[in-house]
């Protein structure tokens, strides 16, 4: 009769890990949805200055980015003066207007008045090139701009 006797095991049953993939997938989907990939790789040095009276720049799809800075170490053939980068390539000042026009064309018409130009300028750049870009933006009537900065005390700008 002992054949049907229940086994009197004292050891605890192993915890089932079958639901582990589900948990991991849940996390995975969260990060997949939350991820925004950098759309352009930077070819310039871009150490932003610091300010503390900042406003948040939300609605990322309504922002046009203009990068200005010294070509980074792998692009030294372009010189050491600060240059403009639009999308994935270096540009001259007179290409800014065309860039704004193409950005506007890619957005829905009713959203065009809300477009903001974010100037991501390296702290070491000088105002000459920034002034030129600002003048170009005025010519093409893109008047809403944002000087992108990091948050912090302005005394860090002097270093």
């Amino acid at each position: 009769m002992s054949k049907f006797k229940k086994k009197q095991g004292n050891e605890l049953p192993a915890i089932s890990t079958a639901s582990l993939p589900d948990i991991v997938f849940m996390l995975l989907f969260f990060f997949m949805v939350a991820t925004v990939m950098r759309d352009s790789s930077l070819m310039i040095e871009n150490r932003l200055p610091v300010a503390d009276q900042v406003e948040k720049l939300d609605k990322k799809d309504l922002v046009m980015y203009i990068y200005i800075g010294k070509p980074s170490s792998s692009y030294t053939q372009f010189g050491t003066e600060a240059r403009i980068q639009l999308n994935d390539k270096f540009a001259e000042v007179d290409e800014v207007q065309a860039f704004i026009a193409s950005e506007r064309a890619s957005k829905r018409e009713e959203l065009v008045p809300f477009l903001t130009t974010a100037l991501k300028v390296d702290r070491e750049a000088n105002m000459g090139i920034v002034g030129d870009v600002k003048q170009e933006l005025r010519k093409t009537n893109a008047l809403k701009i944002n000087y992108t900065t990091r948050q912090g005390d302005i005394s860090q700008n002097r270093q």
Binding site: A34, P49, A51, L57, E124, Y147, R150
Partner: protein
């Protein structure tokens, strides 16, 4: 003869694959949003009409090519700029129609009439460094924000920055149109007239 059960696929490595993907997305995720100083550029005006502005209503700030700060043609330290800008904006020296009832300044006839007339003109040279320019912009915006906060505290008992944050907050309970009116009222009391000269 016993029916053979289909062998079960081993799903033990599923978690590993998922972890690999998870780590990839974890590394590439950027959730933070950009912050910065928002400004509005003046439109290009073809019509050459000179608006006459009294010299006393203009506060000139020049950053020269050596990153030195010249306020009203005098050399000044960056730390004093905010205070000086507030003194200028809040002066309220006007009389009659130009009088400013809420200003707390010295009411000197040499300085600005009221905050609506007061203009800060920020000039820079081509060699000015961007970091310095942003520092100065920051101080000037801070001067406006400080005055607006003070005004909001007087009128509504909360700071202007708080009111703006509430207006943006979707979870805030309260009358948003009323809040917007209050914000616009304060903006009208202390309008940001900061001109960037080329």
């Amino acid at each position: 003869m016993a029916k053979r059960a289909a062998p079960e696929v081993n799903a033990g490595s599923m978690a590993d694959i998922a972890f690999l993907l998870l780590i990839f997305f974890l590394v590439t995720t950027t959730i933070e949003t950009d912050t910065g100083l928002s400004r509005k550029l003046p439109p290009i005006d073809d019509s050459e009409q000179d608006v006459i502005i009294k010299q006393k209503n203009i506060f000139t700030v020049l950053i020269n090519g050596k990153d030195q700060l010249l306020v009203e043609d005098d050399l000044m330290d960056l730390d004093n700029l905010r205070e000086e800008a507030i003194k200028f904006l809040d002066n309220g020296g006007g009389a009659g129609d130009d009088a400013c009832s809420y200003c707390k300044g010295k009411r000197s006839p040499e300085s600005s009439d009221n905050p609506d007339k007061a203009i800060i003109s920020l000039k820079n040279e081509r060699e000015t460094s961007y970091a310095m320019y942003i520092s100065v912009q920051n101080e000037l915006v801070a001067a406006y924000n400080e005055l607006r906060n003070r005004r909001a505290m007087e009128l509504y008992g909360e700071s202007f920055t708080e009111m703006q944050a509430n207006h943006k907050d979707v979870n805030w309970v309260g009358n948003k149109t009323k809040l917007k009116e209050k914000i616009d009222g304060i903006k009208k009391d202390y309008p940001q007239k900061l001109s960037e000269v080329q």
